[in-house]
Amino acid sequence: MIENGLKSLIAIAAALTMFASARADDIKIGEINSYSALPQFTVPYRKGWQLAIDEINAKGGVDGKKLVVISKDDSGKPANAVTAANELVSNEGVALLAGTFFSNIGLAVADFAAQKKVLFVAGEPLTDAITWSKGNRYTFRLRPSNYEQAAMLAEEAAKLPAKRWATIAPNYEYGQSAVSVFKKLLSAKRPDVKWVAEQWPPEGKIDAGAVLEAIDAAKPDAILNVEFGPDLVKLVREGDTRGTFQHRSVVSFLTGEPEYLDPLKSEAPQGWIVTGYPWYDIKTPEHEAFLKAYQDKYHDYPRLGSVVGYSLMKGIAAILAKAGSTDTDKMIAAAEGVSFDTPFGPVTFRAIDHQSTMGAFVGKTALKDGKAVMVDAVYRKGSDYMPSDEEVRKLRPRN
């Protein structure tokens, strides 16, 4: 612990004194994320993109030019993210913007990018709006959207015998849209399903006991959960004690991601159907190469954030290589339809809505040697869970 503290102190000192030194012929990438607000995601995320950048530059960079990332913290606030984006574009002269975690920050930076005519490759924000209703030609997004993850889970949920469903989701756009898409898709597949209760605890302030009893009172056969982070921990421990999840199917967004599953340790729920990232179980050559490189460099296992950071920079390098230029219009033209390799296999940025085809693993939670894991995980390709092209065109504003 003390060692950790010392290391971090050294890191501060380094951060204070060292600045990314970029030469004129380097390609500068402006990166923004919620480093101070959300370290449990952003620390592995930063390790991921650093690994990718090291690999790319070790092979000579892009067209002989080294990639340099200038990284800024938005402290979890959209207004700060816009300030940082401005600094990166106006002061640092970056070729493009990348990153962000929270949906509202992703949207704010996407709007800034459209206003300033800069390319923005969003990594994590899950909101459907960023590629659909608020989509713009300057913005691309890597991770499978809320809609895609809901569709993957609804497919599994439809196979369950459960007819009476209840939902628990944080009371903001992410939770609301996850629930509404899931409801729509499951009801379409299973007209016999009834929605018997819903709970909307404020994010970070769940009153787990009261929420669970309210759900239990409606006697559902199955529960959809969209809670994550500290709220999930409370919900799981409380539900375990009260037996709310016994004899019930649970379908849960993101719970299989190490960021959210690992803190639960031996108390992780068993048999929940989840999306996530079982890094210990993915035996593809792409992933094994990534895993080895990551563990060699950091002596730690990757989280999903690591994959997002790593793939983000791989995608950006592919865009730059294909464009052969840092001109925004050329980069956008190159990005539409560009393919690149990720730990999850090859991924393409769709031309139609600038969403990547990256997918997610769907599986079940279980306990193995006292540790929370995800089992029976199958990779689902994101683009297989999209609405038809015609519908997507209707969702996106014309510009």
Binding site: Q40, A79, A84, S90, G204, A210, V233, G243
Partner: protein, 620 residues
């Protein structure tokens, strides 16, 4: 019936830990009059320490010993904090100690990350209380039952300490009239340290007891701090019994509220607080605060309008600011624009806090109303930028008129908390009324038209409006209305005797301050191109207060200095360090110790006074 009982029990269990933390805060406020913003940080430290200790010492003795040890350690830290920091600034203007506790909170948040890392830490369950007990066919966690019993037990213990020991008598006496206690020869220093240690011990205990229920993480301090302020205020400041009743009220209402309207839990407690304060201005069990006696050491500075020299200096500064586009690029100008906007925000808050004597924890409400007013004028009515810049302040002024009407009926921290309640209610409307406000995804595309879009043009526009508005606020301060406002602040009775209607005067000040903050908000929306509910959040309100306090409450120009220093510092630190909160917190604590009257107050005032005395001498 079954559900009723179960919800009641889970509400009562949540109430217990809330009560522990809130009672500590209430005690501290009652005796020292310090609004201890760091109370949440002590709660968080309790949870983290309990995690580490329970991981190390297993078994029932190890577990319960760890709980107690964690609380004691937090209490010791609290005592240390009081002795090293707060003790030096008791003589500072009211609320100034809030700055120090705010700085400490920032420091603790980053230190926790450095020591314990970013991941959530879930400690072991309580030995012997890991399971559940059957209550009319429902399983209720045994730990909940333990908490339900613990609450009244702690209340009883505190009652005994306060009523049956000499120390407790002194604490109660100090809560009622601390000057009198001091006059009777009681050593206040140790009394304050003791109370602070007990208060933070309770916070630490609350945090430790929470460890078996939830994971420790680095944001739990902010999650609880506002809620415990609400509990303390509903119960009545300084009243332990009040905190107990209020904690139960808040928790039980929450447990039942989500049955009826699941989405309302965001705002329920603030609605409750607003209603309680409107009906009972000093909370359920609170007594009206005795009029604070001015202690002899406080020198009241006579405010003077700018003389010729001052006017020339001010004009030169404005001219220099107007030339900024010659030296700064687009990013530098955007930062300068943001600073100018917050100068206006701080100056408008200053009118309430310093001139009107009305502390506000919810001034961001008006910034947010200004932002949303401007953005909605543009989005819904298709208005161009300039009319939108009028619509924003108008909406904010209207909001201030409504909110102010209620707030001026209260005083002190109660008034401040009522502004917070209204700000939170407005925040949750912005957050939940998705069809109009866009919810947390906000309103996008609020960019200035082409003629104002370049960084320098928008900067000049902002600078012009801000200079006019700040000059206007200054003129108001030195107008007859401003004198009336200050008279009402300094003595309610005397001002009433000369025919000043305190409430009316303060109400007008509210509307003016609201409009000022609204203009800042409207400009902010166009600077960022978007509006989010975060503009109305508590942290924005606290930022404003920090700027005013940092600059110096007792000066007229303080908020300008405070806003420039604070905003510049925080933008630079976020951009250049990974641990911006740690550094910012330390800088704030350093400034508090160096400049106990605020930066402007400590640097400018003595100099001005020297100049003034020199002139007087020359004249005679």
């Amino acid at each position: 019936m079954q559900l009723f009982v179960v919800q009641l029990l889970s509400g009562l269990a949540s109430a217990a830990s809330l009560f522990l933390v809130a009672s500590g805060l209430s005690l501290i406020f009652g005796v020292t009059r310090i609004v201890n913003f760091a109370h949440g940080a002590f709660f968080m430290l309790g949870a983290y320490l309990a995690f580490t200790l329970t991981e190390r010492f297993s078994g029932p003795l190890g577990f319960w010993g760890s709980m107690a040890l964690a609380a004691v350690l937090v209490g010791l830290l609290g005592a240390l904090f009081e002795m090293l920091l707060l003790r030096r600034i008791y003589r500072a203007p009211e609320l100034f100690q809030l700055l120090a506790t705010f700085g400490a909170t920032l420091v603790v948040e980053d230190v926790v990350l450095l020591i314990w890392g970013p991941e959530e830490l879930l400690g072991p369950r309580a030995p012997g209380l890991a399971g559940a007990v059957e209550v009319i066919g429902k399983r209720v966690p045994s730990y909940d039952v333990f908490l339900i019993l613990l609450g009244p037990l702690v209340l009883a213990l505190l009652w005994l300490i306060l009523h049956r020991t000499r120390w407790g008598v002194l604490v109660r006496a100090a809560t009622q009239d601390r000057d009198m206690v001091a006059a009777l020869g009681v050593n206040q220093k140790w009394l304050f340290t003791g109370v602070f240690a007990l208060g933070t011990f309770l916070a630490g205990l609350g945090g430790a007891l929470q460890a078996p229920r939830e994971a420790a993480d680095h944001t739990m301090d902010l999650r609880i701090i506002i809620e415990i302020f609400v509990v303390v205020v509903i119960g009545g400041l300084g009243s332990i019994e009040g905190a107990f009743v209020a904690a139960i009220l808040v928790s039980v209402l929450n447990a039942f509220g989500i049955l009826i309207v699941p989405k309302i839990s965001l705002v329920l407690v603030f609605l409750l607080m607003a209603i309680v304060l409107v009906i009972r201005p000093t909370g359920l069990f609170g007594r009206r605060e005795g009029a604070a006696r001015m202690s002899g050491a406080v020198v009241i500075n006579v405010w003077k309008p700018l003389d010729l020299d001052g006017f020339v200096i001010a004009l030169a500064l404005v001219a220099a600011a107007a030339l900024a586009p010659l030296a700064l690029g687009p990013y530098g100008l955007a930062v300068a624009t943001e600073i100018a906007i917050f100068v206006l925000f701080a100056a408008s808050l200053h009118l309430l806090v310093s001139v009107g004597g009305l502390a506000s924890f919810g001034h961001a409400a008006f910034l947010g109303l200004g932002s949303y007013g401007a953005a909605l004028a543009m989005k819904l009515a298709g208005s161009p930028m300039l009319p939108a810049l009028v619509a924003g302040p108008l909406l904010a002024a209207f909001g201030a008129a409504v909110i102010g009407w209620f707030v001026v009926r209260l005083s002190g921290v109660y008034a401040a908390m009522l502004t917070l309640a209204f700000a939170q209610i407005l925040w949750s409307i912005a957050f939940q009324w998705t069809p109009v406000t866009g919810g947390d995804n906000g309103l996008l595309g609020i960019w200035p038209p082409p003629w104002a879009a370049s960084a320098s043009h928008f900067y000049w526009l902002t600078l012009a409006l801000v200079v006019l508005a700040v000059a206007g606020l200054r003129m108001i301060i030195f107008s007859p209305f401003g004198y009336a406002l200050r008279a009402a602040r300094d003595s309610d009775l005397r001002s009433e005797a000369i025919g000043i209607d305190r409430r009316r005067v303060q109400w007008r000040a509210f509307v003016i301050a609201g409009a000022g903050a609204g203009l800042a908000g409207a400009l902010f929306a166009f600077l960022k191109g978007s509006v989010f509910p975060g503009a109305m959040s508590v942290s924005t309100s606290i930022d404003g207060l920090v700027m005013v306090l940092l600059g110096g409450v007792e000066t007229v120009s303080g908020p300008i200095v405070g806003a420039v220093v604070y905003k510049l510092l925080s933008i630079w630190l976020v951009s250049h360090t990974d641990y911006s909160k740690l550094v910012l917190g330390l800088v704030i604590i350093g400034l508090v110790l160096l400049f106990p009257k605020g930066i402007a107050g400590s640097i400018l005032l003595p100099r001005l006074r020297r100049v003034a005395t020199a002139r007087e001498k020359a004249a005679t």
